[in-house]
């Protein structure tokens, strides 16, 4: 967690001295024999997820599928953006969508109208999780004919924090930020904006009615993730959509040309 206040950082430390002795907290454990045996572990906590993500990535590579992980806060317009994007991509690219929501199948119903196969994941079946993990994607893939897919788009749970931490095997991560959310979001959620490969600044059709300062967002992005591509667009009006779709096509072509591992 990003905490700028040094005293707050110190407060987060455990308070145990690094002497290897059991603390008073643990007195129930053999306090009279104050020794303990340390066993080296040195493992990433999310090892299990990362291994499953690597397996997904291998499967995508074997099937020639390019995968996008689309993340944002709730209500940024991800589903509308996908509806419009699918309508323009579908003639020449075979698309499929995995949609994550805590509840309801409304997004899947909307996206299914595009003709693309859509798998809805409701995470309440997994304990109301706030993100999609690699094993959830692996399970969802069984509902899609992967031999008939060029582009898989995963619409992650609306949340600017947790999904950034979980690799699902995607090729590119894209964050959607709508202008109604305010200019400060990149600075407030730096991990998300560091981890993503492109930013879609959505709902620019609303700019005449807002005090939103686009320049501030662009400056903030340049500080947090220098060089990150930013696409200013309106999923509703279609303005700016072509540049974003051209980026997707360029990314797909780049993956096809890259030597497969």
């Amino acid at each position: 967690m990003w905490i700028f206040d040094k005293t707050a950082r110190r407060r987060h430390h455990d308070g145990h001295k690094g002497d290897g002795l059991p603390s008073r907290h643990d007195t129930a454990v053999e306090s009279q024999r104050s020794g303990s045996r340390e066993i080296k572990v040195v493992r990433r906590v999310l090892d299990a997820n990362d291994m499953l993500a690597a397996r997904n990535r291998e499967l995508f590579a074997a099937k020639g599928i390019f995968t996008l992980n689309l993340m944002s806060s709730p209500g940024s317009g991800k589903t509308t953006l996908l509806e419009k994007s699918l309508a323009r991509l579908m003639p020449d690219l075979r698309c499929a969508v995995i949609v994550g929501d805590i509840c309801t199948t409304q997004d899947a119903d909307r996206l299914a109208a595009s003709g693309a196969p859509v798998v809805q994941i409701n995470t309440d079946a997994f304990g109301g999780e706030c993100h999609l993990a690699a094993h959830v994607i692996e399970k969802a893939l069984t509902g899609i004919n992967l031999d008939a897919v060029d582009l898989l788009i995963v619409e992650n749970i609306g949340n600017l924090v947790c999904p950034a931490e979980f690799d699902i095997g995607e090729d590119r991560r894209v964050v959607v930020l709508s202008v109604t959310e305010g200019e400060d979001k990149p600075a407030k959620y730096p991990l998300m904006f560091r981890e993503c490969d492109a930013l879609l600044l959505n709902k620019i059709d609303l700019l005449p009615y807002l005090d939103y300062d686009t320049a501030k967002t662009l400056i903030s992005i340049e500080q947090i993730h220098p060089g990150m591509p930013v696409f200013q667009l309106s999923a509703k009006s279609g303005e700016g959509l072509e540049d974003w779709l051209a980026w997707i096509r360029a990314q797909i072509n780049a993956k096809k040309k890259a030597p497969s591992s």
């Binding site: 967690m1 987060h12 303990s36 572990v41 906590v45 299990a48 993990a133």
Partner: protein, 123 residues
Amino acid sequence: MHEMGIAMEILDIVQASIPADMADVRVQRVNLKVGRLSAVIPDSLRFCFGVAADKTAAAGAALVIEEIDVAARCNDCHHEWTVETPVFLCPACNSGNTEMLSGRELEIVSIEIAEEEPPHVDL
């Protein structure tokens, strides 16, 4: 928000790290490294781990969290610095061609197990 899931992953790794020949051991401490740019709140993680570890070998174990600073390096002028605010432009030459050296850690370094009781302690 996802600290419970992470706590359960930690518990899995801790349980798998206890040597098979050590029965009925109690884990006293779990030593972790957490980067300051990871999406984990130490206090929430400790709370969740306490709940998840209940009635396991790690029940009551302390999660000792070493927070790792965010460090970055400039690929143009090779300046290295500690990132205190989310600004990844080089403070020396203002280049955006920089990379992170640390700050994304989420690792279990070690576990500490209480030494075994001698055979006859009860009087």
